[in-house]
Symmetry: C2
Subunit: 177 residues, 2 copies
């Protein structure tokens, strides 16, 4: 009996892991759209009852809008889709740990669960600088899973910043000549 | 000389106070628009070089959008107006202490100064629960002034919630009959 239950739990965990990776791959696809615009490559999808109801990617420079982060765009679209400001039974997948604004928006919109690709030690607010998703002082707490497709998410960021530095060097060199 | 300087400082403080109250009155006008929609009455204006470049009021229920807070609307409009995601030389006036999402957005958009009407002890993130506007871990800190037209701002909230409770009681009563 004990062994059977353990087996079921392992199956459940395996199914959850596969499902999380599937949606994180979709968030990565969104991040690549940001990459193509030379924006920091961050992508997000929101899932409700097995369906993606909101997508977003970082367009801060392109749109000249400080609110054009991946998560905020996905939250706005998901709310429009379900016709409610409360995203209570939703899971939000994001390739990079959310900033203070996006973590705040996640709590405000009552997202149930957040799945993060890689962490952002310098600015992240889902555990790095502080964890806004799980503060007992607020009227909502969010379940959190980190490190899903961590390497792919992290590699995309690293490649982006490496390329950016190369471009900046080239630009400086051509200006000096 | 010392007295002259002190006099100048007092004059400066007086001018600043008058100017802050003038813009807070405009934020209160925005808050009243929310009130008329039966939304929690919160209003915001953003000022750059003596001009209001963004206005907003709470429309969360009306728009069914968790992002439709007064501050986020004002920030989006101000950014569009000046064509930059950075609101670096701007002052944001808001009738109620910002929540975690809005305080985060203020830091993300690099607003220089925030002026608050009344505090929100249960959920505010500019000093009540925590102060996201002034954390050395982030790459930007915001100057903060509180208590400007505090009584008017606070009274508007109190009247709103009192009316709401009366309406709810009436509704319950009419359902019971």
């Amino acid at each position: 009996m004990g062994r059977a239950r353990q087996g079921n739990n392992t199956d459940q965990a395996g199914i959850q892991k596969k499902s999380d990776e599937k949606y994180m791959r979709q968030a990565l696809r969104q991040a690549k759209k940001a990459y193509d615009l030379e924006e920091t490559p961050i992508g997000c999808v929101i899932v409700h009852e097995g369906k993606v109801i909101g997508r977003g990617y970082n367009r801060r420079n392109t749109d000249k809008n400080p609110l054009a982060h991946a998560e905020l765009t996905a939250i706005r679209r998901a709310s429009r889709k379900i016709g409610d400001w409360r995203l209570e039974e939703c899971t939000l997948y994001v390739t990079l740990e959310p900033c203070q604004m996006c973590a705040g928006a996640i709590v405000q919109s009552r997202v149930e669960r957040v799945v993060v690709g890689c962490m952002n030690p310098k600015a992240g607010c889902a555990g790095s600088i502080l964890n806004l998703l799980d503060m007992r002082e607020f009227n909502h707490q969010v379940r959190l899973e980190t490190g899903v497709l961590e390497e792919e998410c992290s590699m995309l960021m690293k490649t982006f910043f490496k390329e950016l530095r190369t471009k900046q060097k080239m630009r400086k060199k051509s200006l000096a000549e």
